[in-house]
């Protein structure tokens, strides 16, 4: 493979019902950094149907060129039409790097594409940078987040990686940025369209996005049950915080999966994270240790959560939280 033929940083900018997902904008910001380091360009791949101003948004967030594919086949995400479209773009344009958000859509699309293109795909990267040899260094947590591994895809192009929502910081929106929009036509092979979408159902329970919260009050086993979480909600209401949970509480059905913090839940980096009665299994730490400030309350003074806490209180959350809520109300 002649690597020199492969150039520029491409981002799959995911939209759902016309709304660009934040992770796409976050990736454009990261792609901008990488492209600047390589002295190359950022391309946004925007797929959908009846698209309007989304391409301008991609430019405002860092794209030099938007490759817009507007086709009825792409109205709702289905693996094969999206894979065909992106595959054609990769084949015709030879990107050096392809970034995809690690959403349920990106994690469905990414591996399908990597196998079609026969290149590597590094999942859930938390760090991306360019090496002296101009390769992409893709850092991801291993073994539940304690060990970090930097992965390299030296002999294959494009270098592909997925990044979870909330991991990269979104760049500043600049509506005066200039860029070009190119409409791309895809020659679909419809004989491969074998999955039929009957309906797409939005569930309001999933609308809360804990990755957007500035303050999170997160509960674990020490909070115990639904009443315990009522207590956390009361506190959250006083300071406009959101409530989240460790895996144990989600598995117990106390809170929905959309509010789970950790390796198999969401990665959060709020300004302030309260770990209430959370011991701090490494899977949990992987999802929250990048928070700006961490306050932990736990009965067990040897709990690993105290290793990442900026402020740790050894004590009973069930006693401390109601007192704290009272004080905050005043």
């Amino acid at each position: 493979m002649d690597k020199a033929q492969y150039k520029n940083v491409y981002v799959f900018v995911e939209q759902r019902e016309g709304v660009i997902q934040n992770v796409g904008l976050e990736l454009l910001g990261k792609a901008r950094e990488l492209a600047d380091a390589l002295n190359e360009k950022v391309y946004a791949m925007l797929l959908g149907h009846d698209l309007t101003t989304q391409a301008q948004e991609c430019i405002a967030y860092g794209a030099d060129t938007v490759l817009r594919v507007d086709a009825p086949e792409l109205a709702t995400y289905v693996t094969e039409p999206y894979a065909q479209a992106i595959y054609q773009i990769i084949r015709d344009n030879k990107p050096s790097i392809v970034l995809i958000g690690a959403t349920t859509i990106g994690r469905d699309l990414g591996p399908r594409l990597s196998a079609r293109v026969e290149t590597g795909l590094t999942a859930d990267c938390t760090g991306l940078e360019i090496s002296e040899e101009r390769d992409l260094l893709m850092t991801r947590p291993a073994f539940g987040g304690n060990l970090m591994a930097t992965i390299i895809c030296k002999e294959h192009r494009p270098q592909m990686s997925t990044v979870r929502p909330g991991v990269m910081r979104m760049g500043q929106r600049d509506e005066n940025r200039k860029g070009t929009i190119e409409d791309v036509k895809i020659n679909f092979d419809k004989s491969k369209f074998r999955v039929r979408v009957l309906e797409t159902v939005k569930q309001t329970k999933n609308l809360v996005d804990i990755t957007e919260a500035h303050v999170l009050i997160s509960g674990g086993r020490g909070v115990g049950n639904a009443e315990g979480f009522d207590m956390l909600r009361a506190m959250a209401n006083t300071i406009g915080a959101e409530v989240s949970a460790s895996r144990a509480m989600v598995d117990a059905g106390v809170l929905g999966h959309e509010r789970q913090v950790g390796q198999t839940g969401k990665t959060v980096r709020p300004d302030l994270y309260f770990a209430m009665g959370i011991s701090g299994a490494i899977q949990h730490l992987a999802g929250m240790e990048e928070s700006e400030y961490i306050i932990a309350i736990n009965k067990d003074k040897f709990a690993p959560i105290f290793n990442v806490a900026d402020l740790g209180i050894v004590g009973d959350v069930r006693k401390i939280v109601p007192l704290l809520t009272e004080k905050l109300k005043r």
């Binding site: 759902r16 693996t79 094969e80 349920t104 994690r107 469905d108 990414g110 591996p111 399908r112 990597s114 196998a115 290149t119 590597g120 795909l121 590094t122 999942a123 859930d124 291993a142 073994f143 304690n146 060990l147 970090m148 591994a149 930097t150 992965i151 895809c153 030296k154 002999e155 294959h156 074998r194 999955v195 039929r196 009957l198 159902v201 939005k202 569930q203 999933n206 609308l207 959309e258 390796q263 302030l272 899977q283 240790e289 400030y293 309350i297 003074k301 040897f302 690993p304 105290f306 290793n307 990442v308 806490a309 900026d310 402020l311 209180i313 050894v314 004590g315 007192l323 704290l324 905050l328």
Partner: protein
């Protein structure tokens, strides 16, 4: 109907602990288990066996000791178990792994292939869709539940962050299953007793047809460049005080941070 389920033996990461002094992983004594999402996928297959008399084969790639999860699968009720094991398969990234498993699957007949969504030791969620691509089969990922029309059409509930999709697909196809969608059955007593009487077929490199440049370390586009432990954060302040005093300390910090 013939179903193949791909399963993987993984360390039970919920049992992994950190050494409080060195901050390193304590790997000794961590039990190995059948990956939870794979077990969910196996349960889907066994329910189809209960309802439609499907024939269920499990296949795993791993070292010889991965046989343990194949025995477990027998005890849950599968009909055939295959262990893909060869030093040549080792050191594989997801693409090379999927090439190996896809090669093995080419010599098996099936209507439905099920994998877990992801394995808890790597969390990549890549191998299922990659296998589907190699075999040119349609995929449905994040499968929460499914119904079969008894002929060739599945109606599947596919989970998404903001809701779900109902999709339809005809056999042959590939599903990646969520552990949360189903409660795997326990091994039956009779199953456990008989698990050791069933044959485990071991397939090596010589038993499958695959380009050796596409498997193992040679066939892996990605390599670990370096691994490292995270830098230790500056130690925080820990207080062991009564609740009232704790509240004052927290309030003080919240004011300092302009939260209140």
């Amino acid at each position: 109907m013939k179903i193949v389920v791909c399963i993987k033996q993984v360390p039970d990461t919920t049992e992994i602990k950190l050494d409080p002094v060195t901050g390193t992983l304590i790997r000794d004594g961590v039990p190995s288990i059948m990956n939870p999402d794979d077990k969910g996928g196996l349960e889907f297959a066994l329910q189809l066996k209960d309802q439609y008399g499907a024939h269920v084969t499990v296949i795993t790639m791993g070292p010889p000791q991965a046989e343990a999860i194949l025995r477990e699968a027998y005890a849950m009720g599968v009909d055939r178990a295959i262990l893909l094991s060869d030093r040549k398969f080792g050191g594989a990234d997801t693409l090379a792994t999927s090439n190996t498993i896809a090669a093995a699957l080419r010599s098996l007949e099936f209507d439905l292939l099920i994998t877990g969504r992801q394995a808890i030791d790597g969390d990549t969620a890549q191998v299922g869709p990659q296998i589907a691509e190699h075999l040119d089969l349609p995929q449905v990922t994040y499968v929460e539940s499914l119904t079969f029309d008894g002929n060739k059409t599945f109606t599947v509930k596919k989970s998404m962050e903001d809701g779900y999709q109902m999709v339809q697909v005809d056999t042959p196809c590939v599903f990646t299953a969520l552990a949360s969608g189903v409660k795997p059955r326990y091994m039956s007593v009779r199953g456990i007793v008989e698990a050791y009487n069933h044959p485990i077929e071991t397939w090596t490199y010589n038993d499958i047809t695959v380009d050796d440049q596409k498997i193992g370390l040679n066939g892996s586009p990605t390599r670990v460049f370096k691994s490292f432990t995270k830098g230790v954060k500056a130690a925080g302040q820990i207080y062991e005080v009564d609740p009232a005093e704790a509240v004052d300390i927290i309030i003080g910090k919240l004011k300092e941070k302009f939260i209140i």
